[in-house]
């Protein structure tokens, strides 16, 4: 899962998105923004003083095609709200939301239904399975909405059910299944129409830890083959670091930092972010590349560090070295050097 900086149009693009709850939110937001002269913090304070709730404040970010973008924060930080804005389950109070260049804020109802039938898929924290339908009927429901014939949609439903490993449970009802199995159904249903864009709202939070890890691994495998553009919501930093290409950290409705897992761990912008990554074993998430310096004529002999090794592994293999150690890329060329002292320092960086 390499980070995709990808050229061209982003899959999802949020521009100054606000979601404000309360009476007359739209006009009040416009007033507050005008008064604050574009200072979003001041505008948000103003709105709060008036008794409104700015659940999402001035969010701007892009999700590139094929990227797994994780939004992470504590409960009440606005992460679930923002994914509902993007999927248009909520109408954003202000800003623009573009999906492959099309502004959804202006989209008609019919167009939204069309998009949901073809392009968007969503997985919910509490699964949202229809209790009166079997597994197959649940999975085939979005296809039914598309207007596909019964034989056709059953065929596709069985394919996705197989993909999530539920073969043999096709005729079960949701109430007869465990939490992990239910979420597999939820995942299968969201993939049935083969959407380009996939929203997952805390999909594994309601599951117990062992099942959660198993589903995370399977999810990574599925994504490796499908390459969807994903917005993934979680409150679990370990989960975010494990799966993300990039992470956005939210606090009180505001995005405080966007970065790769390494950046989040090694260069937190403030104490809030630092607090999150405190309990994370940094060496397991940061890569050698993040502390590498340009190579200046060193030969390729050494302990054989690679740039995609974790800091922990790298430190273990050059523990006896004091001089800069060469780092190799995938093909075995030297791409830079790493000072073992820097490696150790990076791991300690948070303690200071």
């Amino acid at each position: 899962m390499t980070s995709q900086t990808g050229s061209g149009e982003p899959a999802i693009s949020c521009r100054n998105v606000w979601q404000v709850f309360g009476p007359n939110a739209k006009t009040k937001l416009a007033d507050a923004l005008a008064k604050a002269g574009g200072d979003s913090d001041a505008a948000a304070r103003d709105l709060r003083d008036q008794g409104l709730i700015p659940a999402v404040q001035d969010a701007t970010f892009d999700v590139h095609p094929g990227e797994l973008f994780v939004i992470m924060g504590l409960s009440g930080s606005g992460k679930s709200t923002i994914v509902r804005c993007i999927s248009q389950l909520l109408q954003a109070t202000g800003g623009e939301i573009l999906i492959e260049g099309e502004n959804l804020v202006d989209a008609s109802k019919a167009r939204l239904i069309e998009l949901r039938r073809r392009k968007l898929g969503m997985v919910f924290q509490h699964f949202g399975l229809f209790p009166h339908m079997t597994v197959t009927e649940n999975v085939a429901f979005p296809l039914k909405m598309q207007g596909q014939g019964k034989a056709e949609r059953m065929k596709r439903a069985l394919e996705v059910i197989d993909l999530v490993g539920l073969k043999g449970r096709e005729d079960s009802f949701p109430r007869e299944m465990s939490g992990g199995q239910r979420q597999r159904v939820g995942i299968a249903r969201s993939l049935a129409v083969n959407p380009d864009i996939w929203f997952l709202d805390e999909p594994f939070s309601a599951l117990d830890p062992l099942i959660r890890r198993q589903l995370q691994d399977e999810f990574i495998n599925i994504q490796a083959t499908l390459k969807k553009s994903i917005v993934f919501i979680t409150h679990d930093i370990a989960e975010a670091l494990k799966i993300a290409d990039r992470i956005a950290i939210m606090r009180d409705g505001k995005i405080v930092q966007i970065g790769t897992p390494t950046e989040i761990v090694l260069k937190p912008v403030d104490d809030y972010v630092r607090e999150f990554s405190k309990d994370v074993v940094k060496g397991r998430h940061a890569k050698v590349a993040s502390v590498m310096k340009p190579a200046e004529g060193v030969n390729s002999s050494g302990p054989g560090l690679r740039q995609d090794m974790t800091l922990e592994a790298a430190l273990a293999s050059c523990i006896s070295h004091y001089d800069p150690v060469p780092v190799l890329c995938g093909e075995g060329h030297v791409v830079g050097v790493v000072d073992p002292a820097d490696l150790a320092a990076a791991l300690q960086a948070e303690e200071t």
């Binding site: 949901r116 699964f127 209790p131």
Partner: protein, 689 residues
């Protein structure tokens, strides 16, 4: 009640809590009124000249309006006659083996052997009583009114769900519709549709729609948001979301609505029999009751109970169970019915001529006569005792009820003074011990008993209701209570309203004590609950009307019979909620109490009871509403007050009086409901629930 809300900040008699202040104001108002009575008599009795002729005004404007829509309604009535006549022909004309076969088959399909047996034995009994045709006529009315009610209820529920702006308004209307007494519906309908079964049909459809609408709203509200959002994200249109996902997901709750709708429709169809014109089972009960043929009356009542049980158990089984039983067995059972019907086509005995149970009915009648002859004195003693020493003093006060004839001495002014002095001393003692509210309330209660509920000064009632409202729900509720009661005061129905208040007050008080006691007993002893539960189920299934039969049998017409009938009906929620509240204390709290060394009784008093208070208050609230509902029905056998006015208005087709009295009754019920709910809410918040 006021003592419940005493604030922890109350310190002795100096800093008065809200409750104590409110009680004191009410007390002072009452005292001033009593003191000034000789000088200004209008303080006690609201002068008729001040009242507005509300009944007349309502009558005139409503009659004008009803006249306006009458032609359209008559057309509608003529149209409704077709489905009704067909249903009637179908139900009464169908050979009875066929009907029994179908019902038994349906029972098997939805609930297996127990339900099939219920259907078979139940309808078998109906056949044996000889009331088959009357029973089927009633069922035919239900069969037409229920689809109407279901459709209206579902439509209202869906509308409320789709347009949240109207939701609270719709819910208020539903609230009011359920508190307006059943008879009050009938008068304007009678005016619109003329005598005949159509009135019963429409009344029952109107009466049965609100429970369906309520459950529809509740069910749709409770669909998990994840499920709703999944439907949106699947690309469903709003209609697809609603009909393919949300309504099927809410099925359980909606089926509860169907069950309640069916029961309400049956109940109303039977009540509507009082206007006559349709040879149905309710009419039969009324007829036999009027002639004091208690054997047949009891039989006809049993037929109604059996219908209610079959409908209730079938439809609640439908709501709770997903498992369906073998369709093949069901079809086989139905086929047996068909075969018997065909085989005996010519030789089927006329169901009306079946008199299998007539001996039982005669025996019952004879037994009852014998029983009454032997125990008449005892029953009369019970009745008179309750009347002279309980109901009457409550109604007209000790000063009016204590006579040499009954109590053996005459109440004098001196006794009043002595009573007040004692009460005041006791109240003061309580106040000095830091229980000011309780002390004042004690004095007020003594004052009410001395004066009598029906003779309370009106300023005191208004201020008292306002004070209770203030304590239970703040200024808004206080205003609501006072304004609503003032409406009744100015409508000229005040005296009758006080009489109704006395009757329901006596019944509610009795139910609270007895029902609370039984609930407590059932909470302590599962064995007792095993006996009480089926009785409660039974009492709640029986249509209101049937309660009148047994009390009439033993106590004849009169206030005491009415009082008993109300108690029988209204006690059930008190028992259920009390037990439920006491039983459902979280296990951890009980473990904490036990590990602190509390005895079982201490756990009950210190932990379970306070935790159950909001639930018990809700039970009391239900009991109050039940009592008001029954009060109107009890007018048939002897209550004075608003119920009697409503019933009288029905007989004279006086739309104004009927509606005004119905509205007054609804106002009393609504005010009581809000006041008690306020206390329940306050308790819930205090417990952080």
């Amino acid at each position: 009640m006021i003592a419940d809300s005493e604030l922890p900040t109350a310190r002795g008699g100096i800093a008065l809590s809200t409750g104590a202040t409110a009680a004191l104001i009410a007390l002072l108002t009452g005292a001033v009124c009593i003191a000034l009575t000789p000088l200004v008599p209008w303080l006690v009795k609201f002068p008729d000249a001040w009242a507005l002729p509300a009944a007349e005004w309502i009558g005139i404007s409503l009659t004008w309006f009803l006249d306006l829509i009458k032609p359209a309604m008559r057309v509608f009535s003529a149209l409704m006659a077709y489905p009704m006549d067909s249903a009637n022909t179908l139900f009464t004309g169908m050979p009875w083996p066929l009907m029994i076969g179908f019902v038994t088959a349906l029972g098997w399909y939805i609930g297996g052997l127990p339900m099939a047996a219920l259907g078979l034995v139940g309808l078998g009994f109906v056949l044996a009583t000889g009331y088959w045709l009357e029973g089927m006529a009633t069922l035919a009315l239900v069969a037409v009114s229920v689809p109407l009610a279901l459709f209206m209820g579902a439509a209202i529920g869906i509308l409320a769900n789709e347009f949240p702006r109207f939701k609270s308004a719709i819910q208020t209307v539903l609230d009011v519709m359920q508190t307006v007494p059943t008879f009050a519906y009938l008068t304007p309908l009678l005016f619109l549709f003329g005598f005949g079964p159509v009135v019963g049909l429409i009344a029952s459809a109107i009466y049965a729609a609100p429970p369906m609408a309520r459950n529809m709203i509740l069910g749709l509200e409770r669909v998990e948001s994840d499920i709703k959002e999944a439907a949106v994200m699947s690309g469903g249109t709003r209609l697809q979301q609603l009909f393919l996902i949300e309504i099927p997901s809410a099925k359980t709750q909606i089926m509860v609505g169907v069950n309640q709708c069916l029961m309400a429709a049956l109940s109303m169809v039977i009540i509507a029999a009082v206007i006559g014109g349709f040879k149905d089972i309710g009419w039969e009960v009324l007829l036999t009751m009027r002639k004091a043929y208690f054997g047949p009356s009891l039989m006809a009542g049993m037929v109604i109970v059996i219908f209610a049980m079959i409908i209730d158990r079938y439809s609640s089984k439908l709501a709770s169970d997903r498992i369906r039983h073998s369709l093949r067995v069901a079809v086989a059972i139905a086929m047996i019915g068909v075969i018997v019907a065909v085989a005996s086509w010519q030789s089927l005995p006329d169901p009306s001529a079946i008199t299998l149970l007539d001996p039982v009915s005669d025996w019952l009648d004879a037994g009852l006569t014998g029983f009454l002859r032997e125990n008449g004195a005892g029953l009369d003693g019970l009745k008179n005792g309750a009347m002279f020493y309980g109901l009457l003093p409550l109604k007209i006060g000790l000063d009016g009820a204590v006579l040499p004839f009954t109590w053996g001495f005459q109440w004098t002014g001196g006794m009043s003074t002595a009573l007040y002095a004692t009460a005041a001393a006791a109240g003061l003692a309580l106040a000095l011990r830091g229980k000011a509210t309780l002390g004042i309330v004690l004095v007020i209660v003594v004052g009410i008993i001395e004066t009598g509920l029906a003779e309370l000064p009106w300023p005191f009632v208004l201020v008292g209701a306002g004070a209770i409202g203030w304590v239970s729900g703040g200024r808004k509720l206080a205003t609501f209570a006072v304004v609503m009661l003032a409406l009744v005061l100015f409508s000229g129905l005040w005296e009758r309203a006080l009489l109704s208040l006395y009757m329901s007050g006596a019944a509610v008080f009795t139910c609270a004590i007895v029902g609370g006691g039984i609930g407590l007993l059932c909470a302590v002893s599962p064995l007792a609950w095993r006996f009480v539960l089926p009785i409660c189920d039974m009492l709640q299934t029986i249509p209101l009307f049937v309660f009148l039969i047994p009390v009439l049998m033993f106590f004849q017409i009169g206030e005491f019979s009415a009082f008993l009938a109300i108690c029988l009906y209204a006690i059930v929620p008190m028992i259920r909620y009390t037990r439920h509240g006491l039983i459902n204390t979280p296990e951890e709290m009980i473990e904490a109490a036990v590990s602190s060394g509390a005895t079982e009784w201490q756990t009950m008093v210190e932990v379970r009871a306070p935790y159950a208070a909001p639930t018990i208050l809700l039970g009391l609230n239900q009991t109050i509403l039940y009592a008001f509902a029954m009060l109107v029905i009890a007018a048939l056998i002897g209550t004075t007050g608003l119920g009697q006015s409503i019933y009288g208005a029905l007989a004279q087709a006086d739309v104004g009086l009927g509606i005004a009295s119905g509205a007054a009754m609804a106002i009393l019920a609504l005010v009581a409901d809000r006041l008690v709910q306020g206390f329940a809410e306050e308790r819930r918040q205090a417990l952080g629930l």
